[in-house]
Amino acid sequence: MAKLTIIQAINQALAQAMEQDPRVLVLGEDVGKNGGVFRATDGLLERFGEQRVVDTPLAESAIVGSSVGLAIGGMRPVAEIQFFGFIYETMDQIGTQAARIRFRSQGRYHVPLVIRAPYGGGVRTPEIHSDSIEAFFAHSPGIKVVTPSTPHDAKGLLLAAIQDPDPVLFIEPMRLYRAFREEVPDEWYEVPIGKARIAKEGEQVTVIAWGPMVPVAEQAAVQALESGISVEVIDLRTLSPLDLETITASVQKTGRAVVVHEAVRSGGLGAEVAAAIQEHAFLSLEAPIMRVTGYDTPFPVPSVEDLWLPDTGRVVAAIQAVMHY
């Protein structure tokens, strides 16, 4: 047991997966000698060699498209897309290829591929680097979408993703990479894909968040308690498939729900969560489901992003609003 950051937990998971299974290889831009621009693959080249830690040409479609072939051919590729916003370059190889090979081949072939990508705002990046476009992929059958918010989950979910027989998009909250440490078991463990986590128990309002918004939601819960409101926080952890059981049970208990995400509002995953809640827990609802999200603009320039991003104040306001509806 050691106290690790998210980025260290990811690094440890990759190393353990490569140690255990010679089929696992890591590929992407700057993942070799540089150890990744965030150091997620730090030290792997030295330990596992350049056959298994591959600096690819700067071409996202080639990274994912060749990984599809590698996976069908018996390898277990873990591809890194340097920033989630650059994944637009390989939408086709993900959406029409990785996600559909099993379906197209009627199960003869499958694609055990993990695509890792850092995402989200709060770190003052240049344009495109901070996009949160998870909804595109949650809308794509055949691929799973996973995002941790803690070091413990980062390791356990990544190991589960690498073991998964289907493609998994593993998006990592950039601003949490080194935000805090927690105890992470040294040994191999998996956090199951498809299961949400109750980050904080509460009675009156359910706040549903994922990735970088989980600490924001937790902080909002602490503030709300100061004014006497008991908030339950759910960290979804898996965005596709959604853990509707956990969400439904919580809302049936609390009767109120707020969904928080960084991604832009319209067509976002918050709408899917809200729709699922009203389908499954309509009679428990005391108030409309509210969303606290990014605005319907491209991710803004750094001088504006703090105002643009959902923060504790906005989440507390939404909690107050559903309480006093």
Partner: protein, 358 residues
């Protein structure tokens, strides 16, 4: 510098059926075997066109004119090698061992056509232009990493050479020295767009220069040239000398698909001129002129082809319909809770007599 001269078209038999090259790598029996396959697949292709016109199958993309390239190339592979083709490459898949009923089943909307039978190492036909070239790189690369000695052969058309994935795959394959053969079937047309609008380069093969890999042009209507060239190239690629780009110069004899009308965009003069050297007639001329085939034997080959194709049509038309709810079963290894629920709803709807058209 005349680039086209740097990439001369390899040829063994000319349009008139005259031997103009060395065919020492192909036995007489293999020539006859190639001819039987050419005739069979041409017969299948024409039959498929007619079946579509009769409403018995849906949209179909004919491969007539490209049989020599597809058969000749697959013949140069070993059984374990990978084949990654597009929707126009059913001749390659058929020669590799996929039942002749599969292209028909594909156009009839049966999902089984995507499940390439075990023992044939091919991916399902690809619809997204050039996407399969990257899969071939990955498969070849995985073979190298696992010391399997397998080569990946990818088929694509001239239109595909405009796609980013094509260039990304050539570059990546060259950098990692993946044992992959890129085989472009330059049939001169990407639906209605001629090669001169597709690129301002003189040849497709010359693109190999930029990626520092081997580039070769071959007469794609000459099965002996395709086979002999590919056999050499596949051998070199298998030895680990890096990928290769082959441009097979051919001609799409017919429409893009059964939904296309080439008279809208293609001069009939060109069709007549470029159809003359098509692969089936060309090999027939050669064989008839060189004692490898008599008119009687030719009739027997054509009759046998018709019978084989008739069997394929029967097999396709008698193919049992799968259960519609199987649509849910290959999205993931296991049904997600959402899919389980939707599958049950779907099943319920079928039991209540619901149909796709309501």
């Amino acid at each position: 510098m005349d680039i086209a001269q740097e990439f001369p078209i390899q040829r063994v038999i000319d349009e008139e059926g005259q031997l103009v090259g060395d065919r020492s790598g192909v036995s007489d029996e293999q020539v006859r075997e190639f001819y039987r396959w050419l005739v069979t697949l041409r017969t299948l292709d024409q039959r498929a066109w007619n079946l579509q016109r009769q409403g018995r199958i849906g949209t179909y993309p004919p491969f007539s004119g490209q049989e020599a390239t597809q058969i000749g190339a697959v013949a140069a592979l070993q059984k374990d090698d990978w084949i990654c083709g597009s929707y126009r490459d059913w001749a390659a898949l058929s020669y590799a061992g996929v039942p002749l009923s599969y292209p028909l089943l594909n156009s009839m909307g049966h999902a089984v056509s995507g499940r390439i039978p075990d023992g044939v190492n091919a991916l399902p036909v690809q619809v997204v232009i050039a996407a399969q070239t990257l899969h071939a790189v990955g498969l070849a690369w995985s073979s190298a990493l696992q010391n399997q000695g397998r080569v990946a052969l990818t088929f694509f058309g001239d239109g595909a050479t405009s796609q980013g994935d094509f260039h990304e795959s050539l570059n990546l394959a060259s950098v990692v020295k993946a044992p992959v053969v890129f085989l472009c079937q330059n049939n001169q047309w990407a639906i209605s767009v001629p090669i001169a609008r597709q690129m301002n380069s003189q040849t497709i093969a010359q693109r190999a220069l930029a990626y520092n890999i081997e580039g070769i042009r071959v007469d794609g209507n000459d099965i002996l040239a395709v086979y002999q060239t590919l056999r050499e190239v596949v051998g070199r690629v298998r030895e680990g000398r890096g990928p290769a780009l082959i441009e097979a110069v051919t001609y799409r004899l017919g429409a893009h698909t059964t939904a296309d009308d080439p008279t809208r965009y293609r001069p009939s003069e060109e069709e007549q001129r470029l159809s003359h050297g098509e692969p089936v007639a060309r090999l027939r001329r050669y064989m008839l002129g060189n004692g490898l085939l008599t008119e009687d034997e030719n009739k027997q080959v054509e009759e046998a082809a018709k019978a084989t194709v008739e069997e394929a049509v029967q097999a396709a038309e008698n193919f049992p319909k799968g259960s519609p709810e199987e649509v849910f079963d290959h999205v993931y290894a296991e049904l997600t809770p959402q899919l389980r629920q939707q599958r049950a709803e779907f099943q319920q709807r079928i039991q209540e007599g619901g149909t796709a058209r309501g």
